[in-house]
Every structure is written in structure tokens, then in C-alpha cells.
């Protein structure tokens, strides 16, 4: 039987305990702020982005994905000394795209998860670059090699984090 987009969406929406929607993003934010202390320059990851992508894919709701991504991005911006909103915009778009893609593809496939994280990480970096250089006109230098490493790191970490969060999935 051929599944339409809506029927697939209805069948595959994942549900999680309510506290997880608070705890997982908070833990991601705290770890993101804490781990670079011990890893120094080699902290090539963005845990809030991974959590955003995971819940957007699992819930398959673009609006939920956008709000979660926007909230986590704004929170990340608030911890830096940069303008608040740069990460917010990037992760809002990432949440929207992840949820939109999640409706159409099998999100349980490991290769697809890996690819999605890699592409969305690069996309977030590109949006970040665009906002800084074009929208804000800031003279900010970039190291694209670091961005590539971050995309690879995000994909590798997602391979661990996604199955971990899958364990909290509620099944009917």
C-alpha cells in the first residue's frame, strides 16, 4: 500500500514524556557551555542543533521544530557576546527544514540521520555567515575547515544521541 504524506505522518509521529522536552534541551545547552572548557579548541559540535533536529524529525511538526530551534538558538546567542538572534534564525530554519523533510522520508535510517545532521549543520553555518556578513555587515572572519569539522562532529554525535533519545520514545 502506498502511503501518502499525511498518512505516513500520522503513523510515524513519535511521542515523548513531557519532561523530556525541557530536560533534553537544557542538558544540551549546559553541556554545550561546559564541555568546551575541557576540550579546548576541539569542541567541534553543536548539541542544541542535534536536539533540535531530533525532535523536529521525531515530532514531524514544522511549527514545533521552528519554536524549539528558535528557542535554543536564542539561548545560545544569549550565552555569547554576539547579537541575540543569529543562531535563533539559523536554528529556526533548521527546525523547519528537518520537520518538513521528516514528513517525507524514513527518519529511523542511520545513514539518513547522518546525512541530515551534516547538511543542516553546514546550512546553519552558512546562514550564520550570511546574517553576519550580509544582514549585519559585520567584518567577521571564518574558518570553513572548522565549520566542516563541526558538521562532521555533529553527525558523529548524533549517531550516539539519537538512539539514546529514542529510548524515551513512548509507544502505543
Amino acid at each position: 500500500m502506498l502511503l501518502t504524506a499525511n498518512s505516513r505522518r500520522d503513523l510515524d509521529i513519535h511521542r515523548y514524556p513531557a519532561p523530556l522536552y525541557v530536560i533534553a534541551p537544557t542538558v544540551a545547552l549546559v553541556l554545550q557551555a561546559l564541555l568546551p572548557r575541557f576540550m579546548g579548541r576541539f569542541a567541534y559540535f553543536d548539541l542544541p542543533l542535534i536536539v533540535t533536529i531530533y525532535f523536529a524529525l521525531g515530532r514531524r511538526s514544522p511549527i514545533q521544530g521552528m519554536f524549539m530551534g528558535g528557542f535554543l538558538g536564542l539561548f545560545e546567542d544569549a550565552l555569547t557576546h554576539r547579537a541575540i538572534g543569529i543562531n535563533g534564525i539559523a536554528k529556526t530554519i533548521a527546525g523547519y527544514l528537518a520537520a518538513s523533510v521528516g514528513i517525507r522520508i524514513d527518519v529511523q535510517n542511520t545513514a539518513i540521520r547522518l546525512m541530515l545532521n551534516f547538511v543542516l549543520s553546514l546550512l546553519c553555518t552558512a546562514i550564520d555567515f550570511f546574517i553576519n556578513r550580509v544582514l549585519l555587515g559585520l567584518d567577521l572572519h571564518w574558518n570553513w575547515l572548522n565549520m566542516l569539522f563541526q558538521a562532521i562532529g555533529n553527525s558523529a554525535i548524533a549517531l550516539v544521541v539519537f538512539p539514546l533519545l529514542d529510548r524515551f520514545q513512548q509507544r502505543d
Partner: protein
């Protein structure tokens, strides 16, 4: 219409969220005088509130992690890692002995440095009040090299305080919250610190590059700058006191934007990637002992008395110069400072007027030869004695009242003296 919103609900929500955030971004940037766009260094109240909330959420878990790490570390050190304690103790004892000797030598050097510093510039500050703090978190982004301390406004921290370690400078306090503070590291692209190279005395501004390495920018190409040279704070930025170690020159690269300039990559003295405990310089007031303070006060008082005495002497000499303009010989060497009298009061220097050579053929116009009316005081025209021409220091008003034709009108002038008029033939009576 309803179907339109239902159909495009997701896209509309996306647009609304993006527009809201873009407007928020636009409110945080400003155009500088040079026409460039930059982020407002001082956050608005709304932005600051958001940062405060974020910090309030993240800080407690970070503190808890830090505490547990300390607790576990303490447990490990005290109970588990007891192997080879005896050998370590022996090694440590020898190290302590060596360090004591070094400390004594360093202490003597420090005392000598303090004395020299006090002589050269009394107001130079070189001992500072510091507050130890613990690094509890970072921004989590390699585009924003900031970190958080476990001390805040309630502990006495304020914006723009310097943050250092024993090895070197680390950054400056950018934002303070009640119980924590945000520090902008020196390897961030938006940071800036005035530095000087120790040997070549080249000054520049230190800021981070895209790779997170501090570099000195805006330096003209100089062959003398070599790797290994020490970099110190210059002290002109009003944040870092001068003379603090920054690091050493790692390499020199050409400025990609300007041909004649170079960028000096600095290897920071402090481990900026692995910071744990830091010190915040809360005040740059010197910490002298009571005895030192007393000595300084005495020295200052003596210096004040000497200055007052010098000023008084200078004033007296100026008065004398004003009242005796013709006595000033422009070709004469600089006047000696006023000498001190027996009572300690300044005494004006004694000036002797050179004697007037008597004319070979005096006539009635010759001073002293004019016929005197009866009853007139001969002293008005009589040639003065040398002793009378000595300007008394304590009687200047008399000199001012001297009549024309009196001896003071014949004082030697810097200009060539006029020839005396030819003698007028006297008529026989």
C-alpha cells in the same frame, strides 16, 4: 481565506519568527562614526535581561558540575591516589628548599624594583588587589570566545576589569551578573588590548584571529621582531596594568589587507583553552605596608616643602628682573638660583653696575659738572659711588623713584652706547 492560512500555516509561522528575530537583530547593531556597522558593546536592557535569564539557567548546573568535579578530585587525591607518596614527599621537600632560595632572591629583586619604581614615578601602580574566581562555563561557540566566572557583581566585580592568571593576561570582564560574570578572552576577534614587545618596544593592539590565536595587528613591517620575543601589556588601554605578561611571539605574518603591515601571532602565556582558576584585578591601588606608607607620606611632604621654597625664590627673582630691566644682560649666562640667607629666606643676587669711565674733557653737560643751584642736593647729579650702585635687595622701591639723570639712567645698555654730544663752546662772561 481560512484555507489559505491553514494551507500555508507553517510557512507563515516561519516568516513571522524570522521577521521578529531580524527586527531584534537590527535593534542591536549601530553604525559607527566611520560608517561601519558594529554590534553595540553595551547591551540594551532587554538584551541584558535575556542574557541574565540564560545565565541564570546555565550557571547552577555548571556550578554543580564544578563542585562535584572538585569533590571527586578531592576524594581521589585524599584516599585513592596514595601510591608513591613517600617518594613524592621527598621530591617535594627538595623542591621547596630550592624554591625558598629562589623566593629569597626574587624578594630582593622585587624590593629593589619597588624602590626604583617609587623613585622614577611615584604614582605608578604595580601591586593590585585581585579576586580569585573559578571558570564555570563558556559560550559554547568558537565564534564567541567568552567564558563565565563564578563571581559577579555581589563579589565586587565590574565591567572592564582585567582577568589574569599567574602566567599572563586572559581577558576582561564584559558583563556582570549578580553571581557570575562574562569574560571576553583576548583571543576573541572583538577583543583589544594594548601590548608592547619587550625588546623592540613596538606597540600594537592584541586581538584574536579566526583560529582563536591572539595576534598583534597594525604593526609596520619590522625585521627585528623575531619569534620568542616576549609580549607585555602596554598599559594604555585603561584595563590591563602595564608590564603584565601576555605571551611570546610565535610567528610573524603579512597583513593580508595592507602590504606594509604585519600581524604578529602571539602564543599566549595563559592557557586560554583550558582555564580553570583566574584572578580578577579589582583595583589598581598599591598595597604598601604601614611603614612604607609613612615613608611615602614623609617623602611627599618634603617634596612639597622644597617645591614651595623653589617657587618663592623664583617669584622673588622675577620681581627683581621686573624692577631692574636694564641690569639684565641678554648675553650673560643664565642666572644662578637664588641663594639662601642665614634665616633661610631667599636672597636676591647682588648685581654690581660697572663704573662709568670719567670723560677726558668734561663740560657742563657732563654728569656731576653741572652748576648746582643753591640748596639743591648734590646727590642728584653727583656720580654715584660703586657701593651705592649695588642694588639692595631689600629696597627696590627706591630704585623705582630715581629721577631722570640719576645714575640709574646711565646703566649700560645692550645696544651700543651713543657717543656723547660734542662739547658746546662756552661763552666767556
Amino acid at each position: 481565506m481560512e484555507s489559505f492560512f491553514a494551507r500555508y500555516r507553517n510557512v507563515l509561522v516561519l516568516l513571522a519568527l524570522l521577521v521578529a528575530q531580524i527586527i531584534g537583530l537590527a535593534m542591536q547593531v549601530r553604525r559607527t562614526d566611520s560608517g561601519r556597522v558594529s554590534l553595540d558593546p553595551t547591551d540594551s536592557s532587554g538584551v541584558r535581561l535575556i542574557r541574565l535569564w540564560a545565565n541564570a539557567i546555565v550557571s547552577p548546573p555548571e556550578r554543580a558540575v564544578q563542585s562535584s568535579k572538585t569533590g571527586v578530585g578531592s576524594l581521589w587525591e585524599n584516599y585513592i591516589d596514595l601510591r608513591r607518596v613517600r617518594e613524592q614527599n621527598k621530591d617535594l621537600q627538595s623542591t621547596i628548599d630550592r624554591l625558598r632560595l629562589e623566593q629569597a632572591a626574587l624578594l630582593e629583586d622585587a624590593r629593589q624594583g619597588q624602590r626604583l619604581q617609587a623613585m622614577m614615578n611615584f604614582e605608578q601602580k604595580y601591586l593590585y588587589k585581585t579576586l580569585p574566581a573559578q571558570v564555570i562555563g563558556t559560550s559554547g561557540s568558537d565564534l564567541s570566545r567568552v567564558f563565565y566566572l563564578d563571581k559577579g557583581k555581589n563579589d565586587g566585580l565590574a565591567r572592564d576589569m582585567a582577568v589574569v592568571t599567574a602566567e599572563g593576561i586572559v581577558g576582561k570582564v564584559r558583563e556582570v551578573f549578580p553571581h557570575s560574570a562574562q569574560v571576553l578572552a583576548i583571543n576573541d576577534e572583538s577583543s583589544g588590548a594594548g601590548v608592547i614587545l619587550e625588546t623592540t618596544r613596538t606597540r600594537g593592539i592584541l586581538r584574536g584571529n579566526v583560529d582563536g590565536q591572539p595576534q598583534i595587528v597594525g604593526i609596520l613591517a619590522d625585521q627585528r621582531i623575531q619569534p620568542g620575543e616576549k609580549v607585555l601589556t602596554a598599559g594604555g588601554d585603561e584595563i590591563f596594568p602595564r608590564g603584565l605578561p601576555v605571551g611570546v611571539v610565535e610567528k610573524v605574518v603579512r597583513d593580508p589587507d595592507r602590504d606594509a603591515f604585519i600581524n604578529v601571532i602571539v602564543k599566549p602565556a595563559a592557557q586560554l583553552d583550558r582555564l580553570d582558576e583566574v584572578m580578577v584585578i579589582t583595583a589598581t591601588e598599591p598595597r604598601f605596608s604601614p611603614q612604607q606608607r609613612q615613608d611615602l607620606a614623609t617623602s611627599e611632604a618634603l617634596k612639597g616643602a622644597e617645591a614651595a621654597e623653589l617657587a618663592e625664590k623664583k617669584k622673588a627673582s622675577e620681581i627683581m628682573a621686573e624692577r631692574l630691566p636694564g641690569l639684565t644682560d641678554p648675553n650673560a649666562p643664565a642666572a644662578k638660583p637664588a641663594e639662601k640667607g642665614p634665616n633661610g629666606a631667599p636672597v636676591a643676587p647682588t648685581t654690581t653696575i660697572p663704573k662709568i669711565i670719567p670723560p677726558q674733557h668734561p663740560d657742563r653737560f657732563t654728569p656731576g659738572n653741572a652748576e648746582q643751584p643753591e640748596g639743591a642736593a648734590p646727590s642728584h647729579t653727583a656720580p654715584p659711588k660703586a657701593s651705592e650702585l649695588q642694588a639692595p635687595a631689600n629696597k627696590p622701591p627706591e630704585m623705582k623713584d630715581a629721577a631722570p639723570g640719576s645714575p640709574d639712567t646711565h646703566r649700560p645698555s645692550p645696544k651700543p652706547a651713543k657717543q656723547p654730544p660734542p662739547p658746546t663752546p662756552q661763552r666767556e662772561p
